[in-house]
């Protein structure tokens, strides 16, 4: 089927600005992804899946400029005991990074494995992304698989003593970065991945995660605090039986961010929690698009998304739980809420449930509202100034999402950032 002309030409324009990296063992995957993009075409405003978020600037051939933002504060996970892997404008920086060797985990650059003919990552690179293209197309992810210029493949074989921290620095106001990571967690292995930083003027990131039976992966990322960033990220996860995958994303500022998470529970008794908290002020558009497929018995999934919006900021949530035939005893939970700090901001939500099994418990809820005046007065009547009381209530609103973070130290760091954001607005 031919693409609509506008879509066809937009796709061609974007593709002509890119060159397909030559790559030994990933070559086939890249070519297959390219043909997926050509078939699907890149997203346009007409697409149902992009109804609430304009993809134009994510798709256009050249990235719009984004000023490099100096925050004056230390990057998010500085001071943590971690293994740091640094990318500057989407390019691995060996000098700024730590030595990549650590017991229980192996980390390699995509550029390096490309030189090899045989590598485990070949069986995952682009594979989970391709699976995630049905029933809903995600062309920007296929574009990423085809053209990613850098990234790491991480093999978790044991229980590394510290988290791996992927740090994304932004140095060039015109940078247009495409990063692709693959994470494979062996049976019984367990690791934590931290991500932070503004990354680039425009950032397209894809992460494919395969968690084997009994494995566990915790992912915590912090996007921000830069204001002009445009980012489209995809996370594709496949979970084996009794495995655990938990992801939390903090988004602070950014003119446009779309975070897609596609999770498939393929083994019995698996657990997936996808959570996010975002705070936006003014020219801020944040979109969480989540698709969780239950395809095994007795699995649990939770989606917890909270958004604080002010001065005309926009929040979007599209979240789906699909329970396939036979996925009995599914426990699916989804909540998406926004706190509107004024009348100009808006929250658009499309929660969906699609269930083909009869013995399941699924719930979803979506709300949008202002600060509770009763609570605010109660706090103020005890002497807490209005601004501080509003912050307390705002943090309380975000708490259910932040509570999804398992590590107390990480959670405290995230809360610190939220407090900072709020305090700067007094």
């Amino acid at each position: 089927m031919a693409l609509p002309e506008v879509k066809q030409s937009a796709t061609e324009a974007r593709l002509s600005a890119l060159t397909l990296p030559e790559g030994g063992c990933l070559k086939a995957a890249r070519h297959a992804a390219l043909s997926r993009v050509q078939t699907m075409g890149l997203p346009s405003r007409r697409d149902e899946y992009w109804k609430y978020t304009k993809p134009d600037t994510l798709v256009q051939a050249e990235a719009s400029k984004a000023a490099v933002f100096e925050t004056g504060e230390a990057p998010m996970f500085d001071g943590f005991d971690r293994l740091k892997v640094v990318f500057v404008d989407g390019v691995f920086d060996a000098e700024a990074s730590d030595d990549l060797s650590l017991e229980g985990i192996s980390i390699e650059r995509i550029a390096d494995i490309c030189e090899k003919d045989i590598h485990w990552a070949k069986d995952l690179y682009g594979v989970l992304e391709a699976r995630g293209q049905t029933p809903v197309e995600r062309p920007l992810a296929a574009l990423n698989t085809a053209f990613a210029t850098d990234g790491v493949v991480i093999h978790v074989t044991g229980t590394p003593s510290k988290p791996v921290n992927l740090v994304y620095r932004h140095a060039d106001e015109k940078s247009d970065a495409i990063l692709h990571h693959v994470i494979k967690v062996d049976s019984g292995a367990s690791a934590t991945i931290l991500e932070n930083g503004p990354a680039a003027a425009r950032f397209n990131k894809c992460m494919e995660i395969d968690v084997a039976d009994g494995g566990a992966l915790h992912l915590v990322r912090a996007q921000g605090r830069d204001h002009e960033r445009r980012a489209a990220t995809h996370l594709f996860a496949r979970l084996g039986s009794e495995s655990v995958f938990k992801s939390f994303t903090l988004t602070v500022n950014g003119v446009l961010t779309r975070n897609e998470a596609v999770v498939e529970l393929t083994g019995d008794d698996a657990v997936a929690h996808i959570a996010g908290a975002c705070v936006g002020d003014g020219d801020f558009h944040h979109d969480d698009t989540v698709f969780i497929t239950h395809d095994a018995v007795n699995c649990e999934s939770r989606q917890v998304f909270k958004k604080v919006l002010r001065n005309g900021a926009t929040g979007v949530f599209q979240g789906k739980i699909l329970v396939k035939e036979g996925a009995q005893k599914t426990d699916g939970y989804q909540i998406s809420q926004s706190l509107l700090l004024d009348d100009d901001s808006q929250f658009l939500a499309k929660p969906e449930l699609e269930i083909y099994a009869d013995d399941v418990a699924c719930s979803h809820g979506s709300t949008s509202g202002a600060i509770d005046e009763e609570g605010l007065f109660y706090l103020r009547s005890r002497g807490v100034p209005k601004a501080e009381a509003t912050d307390l209530m705002t943090l309380a609103f975000l708490a259910e999402a932040v509570d999804e973070i398992e590590d107390a130290e990480v959670a405290a760091a995230i809360i610190g950032r939220l407090e900072g954001w709020l305090a700067r607005r007094h």
Binding site: Y378, R380, S381, K386
Partner: protein, 251 residues
């Protein structure tokens, strides 16, 4: 301590006059009780004094230690020494009771130019005060009033009062919903705070609380006005005969 003159209050959004000229003076060291039929304006009076939105003062004044409080923000009134134990304490999911209390105590200290309480001093003080009110540590960890029973909420109000050490304490039906033992605890908590420098305004429907917290003065508020003022015997009269007689006599 507190001096209210000819206070007229209407609802902001409606043409409904609730207080129609309240005059009341609470001296330092004294306990004044306010009784009155449902809907007579008792809670409205307490809200207006503590600065809640939605009411408009159309006439009259209210001063705390000579300072006009009606122009102040709720938090400024609190810092000036005003405290209201709510008839219906508010649940605030996600805000821990301890965090809330410490923020409140330190905010007031800061507003008064005093030094903030250290975390350990604060903890020591809360624990001791909670213990006398039989509030267990588990409850302190929970979000403010969430999942608290009616009686627990009321005890939590008194704990806040004890921590904040206000100058003027308004208790709006703190006794309602309390069992006999809890009422005694609450009354003890209040009595422990009775002090020459502190005034109390105790709103209640029942004599029983006043058995424990002996009032110096009792007022009857009806239809937005104080219609009768007397000593403790006035509360007994209400208890025995209801309001009919008093209202008829004043009409």
């Amino acid at each position: 301590m507190l001096e209210i003159k000819n206070l007229h209050v209407k609802l902001e959004d409606e043409e409904k006059q609730i207080l129609k000229g309240v005059d009341l003076k609470v001296e330092a060291g004294k306990v004044h009780a306010i009784m009155g039929p449902n809907g007579s304006g008792k809670s409205t009076l307490s809200y207006v004094l503590s600065g809640r939105d939605g009411y408009e003062v159309t006439e009259g004044s209210a001063e705390l230690e000579g300072e006009d409080i009606l122009e102040l923000e709720p938090e400024e009134r609190a810092a000036a020494g005003m405290f209201l134990a709510f008839q219906y304490p508010v649940e605030i999911p996600g805000v821990g009771n301890m965090t809330f209390l410490r923020t409140a105590v330190n905010a007031q200290r800061k507003a008064r130019g005093e030094e903030e309480l250290s975390a350990s001093d604060f903890l020591k003080e809360v624990r001791a005060k909670a213990k006398t009110l039989k509030i267990d540590a588990e409850m302190l960890k929970r979000p403010v009033n969430v999942g608290f029973s009616g009686g627990e909420k009321k005890r939590n109000e008194i704990l806040q009062m004890a921590m904040l050490e206000p100058k003027l304490c308004i208790l709006d039906e703190t006794d309602s919903g309390l069992d006999v033992d809890a009422m005694k605890l609450v009354a003890d908590g209040v009595n422990a705070l009775r002090d020459e420098g502190r005034g109390f305004l105790v709103i209640t429907h029942y004599q029983r609380l006043l058995d424990h917290i002996k009032p110096d003065v009792v007022h009857i508020l009806a239809n937005g006005r104080i219609v009768k003022t007397g000593g403790p015997e006035l509360a007994l009269e209400v208890e025995n005969n209801g309001y009919a007689g008093i209202l008829a006599e004043e009409a």
